[in-house]
């Protein structure tokens, strides 16, 4: 094997070590990673806590959205019922979809990642614990406030897809829609924060020796999942932003009468919305692959095939979005492409399903609780996949689209592809965090009711759809044959509900939270590292990984790990820390000193939520105060990080020494910043796409942009800004003050360039409210202004750190990351200035 970092793999042979580790080491680890007390539970950042909070909250949203679903089924049990009046029903179905997709499904799998990944990878924590805490609290507070809107009749009622012009100010004047746009837009930010955490966590904090091809399949799934979030979610963030701006300021992005186009929203929404389905499915499939192996008691058949299949799913899923738009009048050529991609995406799903079946076939499958849910999931998911092939056929979709056939299809896919795997996961991993496992006896009832109820509820909907029953109807007229299938569906839905209720009873009886020590342990006999004995600091020592199922291959491993005979059997620096390893071969690179509990991420989340909430209810003063406090809280939390190091290099076991501070592309901070810049780049790219889309669909409204010549001086300034930012790194060798001076100057020059760009456009007499073109051009300028404002803030932050002597020479991460951001800002500015002048210039 080629060396990735120059680390000598022969060093791994030093483990397990022979020596007896002193008892004090373990006590020190306990002290450093201690349990919170009282209020401190709010400020905990450790993944054992945040993961549980996160998963619990997501499950709460599942229950609440489920109740909304039952209300809908009650209303539709018979024609022309008045259990839910029209307006209420429209809010309820909008919330059911929105909450299930945005507040349950994505956060639930993200939460599972936060909870399980460090354990599976044998890291002490995720690389950015405070970011996890922030993402969780932002989601929990924002989500609960958003959900509460239904109790006061202010919930959004435009459908979870929020198509304008129905959701424009003209047709939805209330703040209901704003709740959706600001609430969901905000929660997406937290999803992205989680995704960054997961990517860096999976690629950089694996146990030494855990090469990519030895990584648990769930970690692969989470990696693909997180990358997909980074690429897909910017589209919906931009979409919600644009629609909110249209509603608040009248910029006509989606208004066809003023040179916008309602179809632009549909493209932006579904470019996010369809990958979203796989974003939900892949982690669940990853869980399935883990559980199937344990249930069968055999290694997963086709590990490499599954990994390839998941990556292929990720790619193909970005070519299927317009299959939600087959009835919008797209040309047959276009629909043909999306139809082909929609069919192709079934192939990797088929590979995964048959890998699971193959694994069950070679093993001795047990019909325990996780096993039942795994098998049920396969049946339901395959059924949904087959109806998926049907609706991928364009002519059939013309009939099925927006009918109850689709309602049936999507529930089969999502319940089979996500809910059942999640329940399997609950049963499988709860012994890892609870004193007792759940009841196997009750599980048979839970499974039976859920499986039967699910099929009774959703199978008849296929028929209702073929009978001509459209979706999103608060009632239906008698005499169309809809009565019987609807009544059966309602009965099934309540059976499903009963199954979930029984699960809650089981939870109440048997779930006793025991993060860290005292859990029920490996009751199903899994072979991966999360089943090592662990406490709040994770495992006593971090093992060398030589296979995919280390616990099956080395029965002594658990004992040796517990005795501290592997990496990092102590705290080397007296603080929280984990080993950062290389992305491919997981060779130890350095010791990351991790931030501990802090009230500031919590405060930042509360104030961020307050900012968005206040914007929604138009309390602008409160919004600005809240926003400023949020920024201060974030800066305050960062202030304690990236400190000058006292101990340069440490022994992480068996005399293997690594540094405790690394800068540049090897550092985890650099990776996170690069991913963040990809997110920002995607947002900007989608805005450029919007401009191109409107120019080709609304050419009648297009005005010639200012001449390209005007952009030359703008480009020149941005080039200077890039140059200045790049010198900041070199300047740090000389003096921190020179370095921050270069950063500040770069931010200032970037801002000046933006100012020139703005003046050039505003003197062209094209205003933001004039047309779709004007709206997008000024939206590009506004995005650039955001980037410039953040750049200035970051440069000032570095300056403040320099003044307080917190910028050590010759290299410093804060300086590096600010430099990266400044370079990106200028590059984005150049792109915007050029493209906005080129699009439609010929006409």
């Amino acid at each position: 094997m080629r060396w990735e970092t120059g680390f000598d793999p022969a060093l791994y042979d030093r483990f397990p070590t022979r020596d007896e580790r002193p008892k004090e080491e373990e006590e020190e680890l306990r002290r450093i990673w201690c349990k919170p007390k009282g209020w401190e539970y709010l400020f905990a950042v450790n993944n054992n806590y945040i993961g549980i909070y996160y998963l619990g909250t997501a499950f709460l949203f599942f229950l609440m959205a489920g109740v909304l679903g039952l209300l809908m089924r009650a209303q539709l049990a018979a024609p022309m019922l008045e259990i839910l009046p029209q307006g209420t029903y429209n809010q309820v179905f909008t919330m059911h979809g929105t909450v299930m997709m945005f507040l349950f499904a994505v956060p639930a799998v993200e939460a599972a990642g936060v909870l399980l990944l460090p354990q599976m990878l044998a890291a002490r924590d995720l690389p950015f614990p405070r970011l996890s805490a922030y993402a969780f609290w932002a989601y929990a507070v924002g989500g609960l406030c958003f959900f509460a809107s239904i109790f006061v009749g202010l919930a959004p009622d435009g459908g979870w897809f929020m198509y304008p012009p129905l959701t424009s100010k003209a047709y939805s004047p209330g703040i209901n829609t704003d709740f959706w746009l600001l609430g969901i837009g905000f929660i997406e930010i937290s999803a992205i924060a989680g995704a960054i955490e997961i990517i860096v966590g999976v690629l950089r904090t694996r146990a030494p020796g855990m090469r990519l091809d030895r990584m648990p399949i769930f970690a692969w799934a989470m990696l693909v999942f997180a990358v997909m979030i980074v690429i897909a979610f910017p589209s919906i963030i931009l979409g919600t932003l644009l629609l909110e701006i249209e509603r608040a300021f009248g910029w006509p992005f989606f208004d066809a009468t003023r040179g916008g186009d309602p179809l632009l929203w549909q493209h932006l929404f579904w470019f996010f919305g369809h990958p979203e389905v796989y974003i939900i499915f892949l982690p669940a499939a990853g869980m399935m692959s883990m559980i199937v192996a344990t249930v069968a008691g055999e290694r997963l058949v086709g590990y490499r095939l599954i990994v390839l299949a998941m990556i292929a799913t990720g790619f193909i899923s970005f070519g299927v979005w317009a299959h939600h738009m087959f009835t919008t009048g797209m040309p047959p050529m276009t629909t043909g492409f999306f139809s082909a991609a929609s069919m192709a995406v079934n192939v990797p799903a088929g590979i995964q399903v048959f890998s699971w079946i193959a694994t069950l076939a070679i093993g001795k499958p047990k019909f325990n609780a996780p096993g039942l849910f795994v098998m049920g999931s396969i049946v339901i998911f395959v059924t949904g996949g087959l109806t998926g092939v049907m609706v991928a056929m364009v002519p059939f979709d013309w009939q099925a689209h927006d009918s109850y056939f689709i309602v049936a299809h999507l529930h089969y896919v999502l319940i089979g592809g996500m809910v059942f795997p999640l329940f399997a996961a609950f049963y499988y991993w709860i012994p890892m965090v609870s004193k007792r496992a759940l009841s196997e006896r009750l599980a048979k009832w839970v499974f039976g009711l859920m499986f039967l109820g699910m099929n009774v509820a959703f199978l008849p909907m296929h028929l209702a759809g073929l009978q001509g029953m459209p979706r999103r109807v608060y009632t239906y007229l008698p005499g169309q044959g809809f009565e019987l299938p609807n009544l059966i569906s309602t009965v099934g839905a309540f059976m499903l509900g009963l199954g979930v209720l029984l699960f809650l009873v089981d939870l109440a009886r048997n779930f006793r939270l025991a993060p860290g020590e005292g859990n029920a342990g490996n009751v199903y006999g899994g072979g991966t590292l999360e089943w090592l004995p662990s406490e709040l600091y994770s495992t006593r020592s971090i093992p060398v990984v030589t296979s995919r199922e280390p616990l099956w291959d080395d029965p002594a491993l658990a004992h040796e790990v517990e005795k501290g005979r592997y990496f990092l059997p102590r705290s080397a620096t007296g603080r929280r820390e984990t080993i950062v390893t290389s992305p491919l071969l997981a060779e130890p690179q350095y010791l990351q000193i991790m931030p501990g509990p802090s009230p500031w991420p919590f405060a930042a989340a509360i104030f961020t939520a307050g900012f968005f909430l206040a914007l929604t209810v138009q309390a602008y003063m409160f919004a600005w105060v809240s926003g400023v406090l949020a920024v201060i809280s974030v800066l305050r939390w960062l202030w304690e990080t990236d400190r000058p190091v006292e101990i340069e290099g440490v022994d992480i076991g068996a005399d293997i020494r690594v540094p405790t501070y690394v800068t540049g592309p090897a550092s985890h901070g650099w990776w996170a910043m690069v991913i963040l810049l990809v997110v920002m780049g995607m947002i900007f790219l989608m805005a450029l796409f919007s401009l191109a889309f409107l120019s080709s669909n609304q050419p009648g409204f297009w005005r010639p942009p200012p001449p390209l010549g005007e952009a030359i001086s703008i480009l020149g300034l941005y080039a200077v800004a890039i140059g200045l930012a790049l010198t900041a790194r070199a300047c740090l060798r000389r003096s921190p003050f020179w370095s921050v001076f270069a950063l500040l100057l770069s931010a200032a020059v970037s801002s000046a360039a933006l100012g020139m760009d703005y003046v050039s456009w505003s003197s062209s007499e094209l205003g933001p409210t004039a047309s779709g073109q004007g709206a997008v051009v000024y939206a590009l300028l506004a995005l650039q202004a955001c980037a410039a404002a953040i750049a200035i803030l970051m440069a000032l932050y570095c300056a403040a750190r320099a003044v307080r002597g917190l910028v050590p020479q010759p290299r410093n991460n804060s300086i590096d990351l600010t430099m990266l951001f400044l370079v990106y800002t200028a590059a984005q500015g150049v792109t915007g200035a050029l493209v906005s002048r080129l699009v439609g210039a010929g006409g």
Partner: protein
């Protein structure tokens, strides 16, 4: 004329009970897909059964990468490729990208929560305005030009063809054709807020002779008028509704010139008779909440009777 009652639908399901050349091939496709899907589901269930309970020999054959390649990759790839080719061919043959010779043209505009119907001649000139009911001759393709006045709607008559969205700022085209005379239910398929659930309509297909007779009967109002018309004009109805041949020229609501001859009221939701007409006028909000027509509680019983008596004569 064709029969006057609304058909009781539901069985066979509309999508599987085609009534024209633009729905029939899709029905065949649907049956093939349903049958094929069932077979494949059975194969997967069989494989799962073997995995759980099968003989060791079968389990070994199923439990390797070869089985995954065959069942999970090769088999779906072949089936899907075949389906894709069929789908592409069918898509282009059914789409309105090519309009057949002699197609009748009608513009249908979706409104919150009803339908404007503008009949056109061969040159695309408007010949007649109506609402919530589309009359077509059998055996002749009909090119629908679909537009939206406010938000997105979708035109769907399952027995005659697939659906097509009506999007503000665009004109989408859809072909339908009926083989036999009859009444075909239609429904808005794109969620359009409020009473989207109650935005229906009917397509009435006539024999060519009947269709010609129907066309000839579309003359401006010859109705007696009298007290009913006077009330109509004095109570504000005319602000939104047109009755050709009278001073009523409102454009916001459905054209009522032939409202008496429609099969339904309230956009496809009530049978049309004097009783339902009176109920609709007096309190349409109770029947179709949030629709754009205010309730007219102010009419006395006699007034309501006179107005209804007039409206039902508008054949």
């Amino acid at each position: 004329m064709t029969e006057r009652t609304l058909p009781s639908e539901g069985w066979p399901p509309a999508v599987l009970d085609p009534a024209g050349p633009y729905s029939e091939p899709v029905t065949l496709l649907a049956w093939v897909l349903l049958a094929g899907g069932t077979v494949i589901l059975a194969i997967v269930l069989g494989a799962l059964w073997i995995a759980l309970r099968g003989s060791p020999r079968l389990k070994t054959r199923l439990g390797g990468e070869k089985a995954i390649w065959i069942l999970g990759f090769a088999f779906p790839s072949v089936v899907l490729t075949g389906l894709l080719v069929w789908g592409l061919m069918l898509t282009s043959s059914l789409s309105a990208a090519r309009v057949p010779e002699g197609a009748m043209r009608v513009k249908v505009i979706g409104e919150m929560w009803w339908w404007r119907v503008h009949y056109q001649d061969g040159q695309g000139r408007e010949t007649l305005r109506d609402a919530n009911e589309l009359h077509i001759p059998i055996g002749q393709p009909v090119l629908l030009e679909l537009e939206a006045a406010d938000v997105i709607h979708s035109f769907w008559v399952p027995r005659l063809g697939g659906k097509m969205d009506m999007i503000p700022g665009r004109t989408n085209r859809l072909l339908i054709e009926a083989d036999a005379p009859g009444i075909y239910k239609g429904q808005c398929a794109e969620y359009c807020g409020g009473p989207h659930a109650l935005m229906g309509f009917v397509v009435v297909a006539h024999t060519p002779a009947d269709f010609a007779r129907w066309q000839a009967s579309r003359l401006p109002s010859q109705g007696a008028g009298g007290e009913g018309l006077a009330l109509f004009l004095s109570s504000g109805c005319a602000a939104c509704h047109t009755i050709r041949g009278t001073p009523a020229r409102g454009l916001a609501g459905p054209d009522l010139t032939h409202v008496g001859s429609r099969r339904t009221l309230g956009a496809g939701i009530l049978p049309n008779n004097p009783g339902t007409m009176a109920r609709w006028v007096a309190d349409s909000q109770a029947i179709k909440p949030a629709n754009r027509m205010p309730a007219y509680h102010q009419f006395s019983g006699e007034e309501l009777q006179a107005l209804t008596a007039y409206l039902v004569t508008l054949k």
